[in-house]
Symmetry: C2
Subunit: 348 residues, 2 copies
């Protein structure tokens, strides 16, 4: 039987709890078809505070030998000074995204009929944000001088390349070809004229290769208005790393909460393993209570299965989630939700 080598980084807080359920469901979905080999990696804020290690080179090399990565959430108590400055987020999560060239950060948003959106009339919402994952303001090319004095200057540099923008824009258009054939570029071309000009010109050039895909452009500020007023207008949104970060949390909120928002950090070339993770964080406040909703992690496992070529398993996971969400008991637990969905998957 074919093997699927899965690296699991449960991480912090509710991370290991929700990936536990996602693994349960993935096992049920792949049973009989694939030999799923799971290797756990102890990484995250807690691990760092215990060992002083964030992501050693040899650990990263070992993770790189896997077919895919399932990640829960990383990050500890935000007020802990030992974790200040996003040391875990940057040293672990962003490091993996950059080192494994996850240039597509794929974040689908669907308003499920059984889930109440905070919007009065969400309409028929089904879009995907294609967020660039390896450039923009996330490159860490900033610096400060005279820190702590009244003369401190702190700079952040957003770096954007034709190479980096073109590949993610091409991915977005190819994705749109399989969907409703509409791409919306989101940027801030009237202020960030250098980066914006590059994104705009490349989008125009790629659009010329996809005459059947319609294209429009929104400034990021206007995009937030449309996400609230008429989210059904979107099909594929392509945008930079930071704007994508902001828009996908907003998208998760309008879809009824980020307890349902899945994501894939994809290396489409297949040179490195892709990494799948819920959009939500480690939620240390509810860790250990058994109340975390594992649905976003389970849907991330569906993205993983699909990306690895197990489209049928992915479909069965999604159908099971749909069914469960529609009939979910008012009061449930993390593991009970995983059990119900795994059982539905197994029965399908």
């Amino acid at each position: 039987m074919e093997q699927l080598q899965l690296a699991v980084i449960g991480g912090d807080g509710i991370g290991p709890e929700v990936t536990g359920e996602a693994r349960k469901v993935l096992r049920a979905a792949l049973a009989g078809a694939v030999d799923l080999v799971e290797t756990e990696f102890a990484l995250g804020a807690a691990h760092y505070l215990e060992t002083g290690e964030i992501l050693p080179e040899d650990t990263m090399a070992e993770i790189a030998t896997h077919d895919a990565i399932l990640l829960g959430a990383v990050g500890g108590d935000p007020t802990d000074p030992r974790l200040a400055g996003g040391i875990i987020e940057r040293g672990l999560l962003l490091k993996l995204r950059f080192a494994f060239d996850h240039y597509v950060n794929l974040r689908p948003t669907v308003v499920h009929p059984a889930v109440e959106s905070p919007l009065r009339e969400p309409g028929d919402v089904d879009f995907v944000v294609v967020r660039e994952g390896t450039e923009g303001p996330y490159v860490g090319n900033g610096g400060s001088i005279r820190v702590g004095t009244p003369h401190e200057i702190a700079n952040e540099t957003s770096v954007n390349t034709a190479y980096g923008v073109e590949r993610v824009v091409r991915f977005a258009f190819e994705l749109a070809e399989t969907r409703s054939k509409r791409v919306t570029l989101v940027h801030k071309t009237n202020v960030l004229v250098n980066a914006g000009g590059l994104w705009r010109r490349i989008t125009d050039a790629v659009a010329a290769d996809h005459p059947d895909v319609s294209v429009d452009y929104l400034h990021v500020d206007a995009a937030t208005i449309f996400l609230v007023d008429r989210p059904s207008r979107f099909d594929v949104i392509v945008t930079d790393n930071l704007f994508g970060d902001i828009l996908t949390d907003l998208a998760g909120a309008i879809a009824g909460g980020i307890g349902l928002a899945a994501s894939g950090n994809i290396n489409p070339d297949g040179t490195f393993p892709s990494m799948f993770e819920p959009v939500h964080g480690s939620a240390p406040d509810i860790a250990g209570t058994g109340t975390a909703d594992p649905t976003a992690a389970i849907l991330s496992a569906a993205l993983l299965a699909e990306h690895q070529g197990y489209a049928d398993a992915a479909r069965r996971i999604r159908d099971a989630v749909d069914q469960d969400v529609a009939s979910r008991p008012a009061s449930t637990t993390t593991s009970a939700t995983g059990d119900r969905i795994a059982a539905l998957v197994a029965a399908a």
Copy 2:
């Protein structure tokens, strides 16, 4: 009688239409108390396309001699290549904000009981975003090399200074003292560590001078979730130029549309005239139809009156807007709305 020298930049599209109504209302509110002297400046995209002028130095010097500026909206057809790269936005609007050191961009959000929010349960929403206006990614310190080639690199630099951050954070805390005494700093300290660290340390330092004001921190992505899920939690949000741009359009949307969102670009030191403008744009698609809602411009005039020390006039404008919004006919026009509100102000 005291004089108030007002510079009016109607601008493009619906800009002159809505400032026309705002001036009507301002005249009614100040009648008998102040001698309002209005000087119109023809500036904007249309003016630029006609004359090649964006904002000549002598025009700027003349505007600087006024007590305050009322601006409608600037910007033409976004697909016109002659206007690409935000040439008008940057050469006119941002130039005024930077040259007149409008370091506080004040954007209040209130969900009016008579206005339907797109949110199912907006709750009691009444907050102010204090957006930094002279730094951050808006400084124009970017650049590109190898433009138009596959090797193009486009950089944008966000510049943040202790001087610039401290003055706007102090303003936010002082404002919070007059309100519900809660300040939320919004940034992205886990990724933009240099700028984020500066904002965070300065906020902590200023907070120490305001022990009665409670402070919290949200990443910008998480802030969008709260704006949708529980906007009533906010009192004063202080944030950087770009995050403030994004959050205030979102705030306008949740408050029932940016037809109501007013703003002030304030130079608190009084060295330069402050500038008041609706958050919305020039909406070329509805210009000339008489359907533009002048309320945001009228509320911007109320901010102007308040800032110039005419608190009573400001209160009367706001009360008149509240009354009008609560009883507004289903079908009305730009000028009829201005007339009704001016009449209410005059009668008060």
